[in-house]
């Protein structure tokens, strides 16, 4: 009986490399000839070796053909993409696209001056808004996670705030807050300027998003951590403060950065209430100098501040990881 085990398995077929597959893939990979040729040569040799029964060598060749095919795919697609972009910007209609976007980007000092002045307003507004969001959203998240039946109304209110402000378009909230508060002339709020109203609007909108990020982070910390804190006699609040929230914050840095980048870009919305921030000025340049490149410059400014933040966040995470995690 034991001799029959595996009798149905065609042993030879399993051992012969899939020469045909490699050959087909190699022909396709000729689209990127630098590596495609190598793939083809190897697949042809693999076929020859397989035919004369040198299975092991054939497998080696076949494997190399396969690797070169993947190189063709990886590098080939990128090269074609770059070529496409070059055609789009340089050759199509005599480079009309790059004329529109980049014409005098490097030399229009006047525009740069104006835009940088405007952008400084954006920076001030988002820095203030981010600091306030960090605090406000944590408060909302902690309220929403309060334990016990007694706190159910607080949890409900916190949830209602989050639901409400996440569902409203930021631009609408800016209109409502800026013009609404100006009209209402409430005590204390009456003397704020338009920029400060804008900060309030952005904090309300992004506080709702970020409170959910905080909440997810806090809930991702295993309950045994809270139990360990409580078992040492720390109160619920102390356990949150010293044990749970610090761990949650470390975990939510990437999504937090996501929302902050969103907030930074949405500072461009405040041009709708007449603040001459970067987008408003780009629009003005477009109208007065009849050049579109102000928009490109504004775009470059946003890119220039976002990328360093992404790297800085990665660095922060890595530093913490290197410090606290086993090698």
């Amino acid at each position: 009986m034991s001799a029959d085990i595996g009798a149905g398995v065609p042993v030879a077929r399993r051992r012969v490399p899939r020469v045909l597959t490699y050959r087909t893939a190699s022909v396709i990979s000729l689209l990127f000839p630098f590596t495609g040729v190598l793939a083809l040569i190897n697949s042809v040799k693999a076929g020859g070796l397989a035919k004369v029964g040198q299975i092991e060598e054939a497998r080696h060749r076949g494997e190399r053909a396969r690797e070169w095919c993947w190189y063709s795919l990886g590098y080939g697609l990128c090269v074609y993409f770059v070529a496409f972009m070059v055609i789009l910007f340089v050759f199509l209609r005599g480079g009309a696209l790059s004329d529109v976007y980049f014409d005098d980007v490097l030399f229009n000092g006047e525009a740069w001056d104006s835009l940088l002045t405007g952008f400084w307003i954006n920076v001030q507004i988002f820095v203030w808004a981010e600091v306030l969001v960090l605090i406000w959203a944590l408060v909302v998240a902690l309220l929403r996670l309060l334990p016990g039946r007694a706190c159910a109304p607080i949890r409900f209110v916190a949830a209602a705030y989050t639901d409400l402000f996440r569902s409203l378009p930021a631009i609408l909230v800016i209109y409502l807050i800026v013009y609404g508060l100006q009209k209402a002339r409430l005590p204390l709020l009456e003397h704020l300027d338009v920029r400060q109203y804008c900060i309030i609007a952005l904090v309300l909108v992004y506080g709702a998003y970020v409170s959910e990020v905080y909440r997810a982070g806090i809930q991702s910390i295993h309950w045994s951590q809270l139990a360990a804190g409580r078992s040492l006699g720390l109160s619920y609040g102390q356990s949150m403060q010293h044990v749970v929230v610090p761990q949650a914050v470390r975990r939510i840095i990437p999504p937090l950065l996501n929302d902050f980048i969103g907030l930074q870009k949405d500072t461009a919305l405040i041009s709708v209430v007449g603040i001459l921030e970067v987008l408003g000025r780009a629009r003005f340049i477009n109208n007065s100098q009849a050049t579109f490149t102000g928009y490109t410059m504004a775009a470059l400014l946003f890119i220039a501040i976002t990328i360093p933040q992404a790297r800085a966040a990665e660095w922060l995470i890595k530093r913490d990881h290197d410090k606290t995690r086993a090698a």
Binding site: A228, S231, G233, Q247, K323
Partner: protein, 247 residues
Amino acid sequence: MAFLQLQGVHKHFGANHVLRGIDLEVERHQVVCLIGASGSGKSTVLRCINALEPITGGVIRIDGDRVSGYGVDLNDLRTDVGIVFQSFNLFPHKSVLQNITLAPIKVLKMDKGAAIAKAMELLERVGLTEKAHEYPDRLSGGQQQRVAIIRALAMDPRVLLLDEITSALDPELVAEVLNIVRELAAEGMTMMLATHEMSFAREVSSKVCFLHDGVIHEEGPPEQIFGDPRQERTQAFLKRIVDAGRL
């Protein structure tokens, strides 16, 4: 009156009736071991004593004070009753030293310098001085558990509860943790252990309780429980342990 007293303690998790009337007394300086199959309620008993789980019936007293039920200051109770968990539960974002000193500083309002001095003293006792500024994830399981024991001891508890503290350890790391428990027992620390280490239970305990289905089926001195168990269920449980080569 016994130092630690459980009277008719019941615990329900929803419809699940986990503890069905636990009566237990622990005298000062006693080491009481809870043995029994997984799910028999050993851990739950310990978690109820320091109120990580609220009990649903019965009374728990420490030194005559009722510590269960309405109106008890749980934070105060827990400074008296330390617990060490199976999975260590150290704080991964804090160094060993910070793990140990957090509660003494925040709860007992100890001076920071004094808390650190005390922590270092305790660390030296278990041979982990050089790990004071290391983070938990960089320690072996045995080292982590020793730190967890010290973290509980730094609060000067009157009772120490040890919840299967060696179950998550590689076999060769078990001894370094048990040695500390042995020393604490010799010094007269009042302790309750839930454990699967039968020979250790036999060696250190003043009393062994066999739990089955949320009830203490049999209790007595270790020689009697291990040498001459009277209840059928205890006999069956110990036979399985012996068959597995664990006793």
